[in-house]
């Protein structure tokens, strides 16, 4: 195990976060605060409680998930795409590091960053609505699993992308819509029966539902199913990353 290399990559990626503090931390916090103002205060005041929870509090897990997913993807995809773009990837490929060490370091740094962000958003939410976390350990489990899983997804996108626009493509066109339609701002029960079934094909539903359960013990789908689906995504993304490194896809000619 090349621990110094893993430490070097992790430190390097975290230093990048420090340099881009404004766009990394502050802008998601501001946009989340705006969501609270718009959905929580302005619209939420006209919506009844959802399953006994005030609407403002109800959307907190979904908002954290929204940031966690998009930030995990963008952190990890940018982290590996940038060395490919500038050419500095030569150093990584010629270093005595295993593929596993590379993935753990990049994904670990991206996941750390998005988890920090998630916790900051949680704290910000605490300023707007009274918070209650019924199962803090499970909350952390969902937070970590989701951050790692979607950082892996981001890593895959960063290797697949051959331009900056493609980096933005998946988060903007797929992840954000799926998150909005995955129950961030509503309970699936509020939908007509047909759309409830359709929604179950949205993988993000399971993440948000499980995460919300850890807060309020209310869930759209069974918690075990949520956990199983998260583990399934993790496995699928790990398999794709393993394939990338075995074949050298977009990394090695």
């Amino acid at each position: 195990m090349n621990v110094p290399a893993m430490r070097a990559i992790y430190k390097f990626e975290m230093a990048r976060t420090g340099r881009t503090l404004m766009q990394s931390i502050i802008s998601p916090v501001i946009s989340t605060s705006l969501y609270f103002v718009v959905f929580g205060a302005a619209i939420g005041a006209r919506i009844q409680q959802v399953e006994g929870i005030s609407y403002g509090a109800f959307i907190v897990p979904g908002l954290i998930m929204l940031s966690l997913l998009t930030q995990s993807i963008s952190n990890a995809s940018f982290g590996i795409y940038f060395p490919r773009f500038t050419g500095t990837i030569y150093e990584l490929l010629s270093a005595p590091v295993s593929y596993l060490e590379i993935v753990v370091s990049y994904v670990g740094a991206a996941a750390t960053k998005s988890m920090i962000l998630g916790i900051i958003i949680l704290a910000t939410a605490g300023l707007f609505v009274p918070l209650k976390i019924a199962h803090p350990v499970w909350m952390i489990v969902f937070l970590v699993l989701t951050a790692v899983t979607f950082s892996l997804f981001g890593f895959i996108i960063g290797i697949w992308a051959d331009g900056f626009e493609k980096l933005q493509l998946v988060p903007l066109l797929i992840v954000t819509p799926l998150t909005f339609l995955g129950g961030s701002f509503y309970s699936i029960d509020m939908l007509p029966p047909f759309w409830q079934t359709v929604t179950l094909f949205n993988p993000v539903v399971y993440l948000i539902s499980g995460f919300r359960w850890s807060f309020y013990e209310i869930a759209d789908v069974n918690v075990a199913v949520s956990l199983g689906m998260t583990a399934l995504f993790l496995t699928v993304f790990l398999a794709i990353v393993a394939w990338i490194f075995t074949t050298g896809y977009r990394l090695k000619a």
Binding site: F12, E91, L93, G248, A253
Partner: protein, 335 residues
């Protein structure tokens, strides 16, 4: 002028070091053994065709070849950046695929392109390289490398603020950060000014004195002529020659004897037809080309025959073909 790399600092690192007898016996031993390596890119282009090459421990090996000959592909395969389609490579006995950690730890690579982390500081990026190669932090070594390369006063500067020459030196510093035994320099002096080139040559020599094996690719023949112990020529993906530089110059080097004639000649007398002669400058210059390796140069009989033919010369000079001439003729004749 950059400082010379302190050879004492490098003693005791790597196999064979610090033991004079081992160094002597290992001097001719291959530190890199490339066997039957071929590379075909996905588009079908065959960049390397069955390349076999041994690099000796402690030598400066210059790999010459025109653009697209396969120099960078070969280096990239040894360093692990490109996968070989066939064949294998051993670095100090370690297979570059099966035992990649041990192989790569020994190698430092200075790439051809100035690829740097623009937003990092000089100190951070060089320290990062050391960590990446599995070495624990050693600020004293990083300081020494930066001082050797005249980058110490820039240690806190962002890489994007450095000049092209400084970036080139930074890439060398990154490659040296983990104290490699083998250094690849892929066209290290491409696009650098004369002073920087000379400084780089000096650095390469001092690294060699410290026991580092150096493989450099270059377009500049004078660079290979100046620096290399051995020379390999690659053309269209094939190694067409590997030779000791001095032997190569002797073997393939031609000499020219140029005579400044007193009176211009319209044509060569038939009696001189057996000699490789050429008239130039309106018949006032007669050039005789001869092989330095042949037993007899034929100069004395030629001069006798000129005298017999009544051709008088007022001055003469000899010149030897450069490595560049040899290279051009080799690459031109390559299949």
């Amino acid at each position: 002028m950059w400082r010379r790399i302190n050879s004492a600092a490098r003693k005791g690192t790597g196999p064979g070091r610090g033991d004079p007898s081992a160094e002597r016996s290992g001097a001719r031993q291959a530190v890199i053994a490339v066997s039957n390596v071929s590379k075909a890119y996905a588009a079908g282009f065959k960049a390397l065709k069955n390349v076999n090459l041994d690099i000796r421990r402690g030598e400066i090996f210059a790999l010459l070849g025109p653009n697209g000959a396969g120099k960078t592909t070969l280096i990239s395969i040894v360093c692990g950046i490109v996968n070989a389609t066939e064949g294998n490579v051993l670095v100090d006995g370690h297979d570059i695929v099966a035992d990649y950690r041990a192989a790569r730890q020994l190698i430092g690579l200075v790439p051809q392109e100035l690829t740097t982390d623009a937003f990092e500081s000089v100190w951070a990026t060089v320290s990062f390289s050391r960590g990446l190669f599995g070495k624990s932090a050693n600020p004293a070594h990083i300081e020494k490398v930066l001082k050797d390369l005249s980058l110490w006063d820039k240690k806190d500067s962002k890489v994007m603020t450095l000049s092209g020459g400084m970036k080139r030196r930074l890439l060398i510093a990154k490659a040296l950060s983990h104290e490699p035994n083998i250094l690849f320099l892929d066209e290290p002096t491409a696009g650098v000014d004369v002073n920087l080139r000379r400084d780089m040559w000096q650095l390469v020599r001092s690294l060699r004195e410290a026991g580092v094996t150096i493989i450099l690719t270059t377009h500049y023949i004078d660079e290979a002529e100046e620096m290399a112990d051995r020379i390999g020529v690659i053309s269209k993906g094939e190694i067409i020659l590997v030779e000791d530089k001095i032997e190569l110059m002797q073997k393939l080097g031609k000499k020219h004897l140029t005579l400044q004639l007193q009176h211009p000649l319209v044509e060569l007398p038939a009696a001189l037809a057996a000699y490789d002669l050429q008239l130039a400058n309106g018949g006032t210059e007669l050039t005789y080309t001869y092989d330095t390796q042949s037993e007899r140069t034929g100069i004395v009989p030629l001069l006798d025959r000129l005298s017999d033919a009544g051709i008088v010369f007022k001055d003469l000079q000899t010149t030897q073909s450069s490595l560049e001439d040899i290279f051009v003729s080799l690459v031109k004749d390559a299949p």
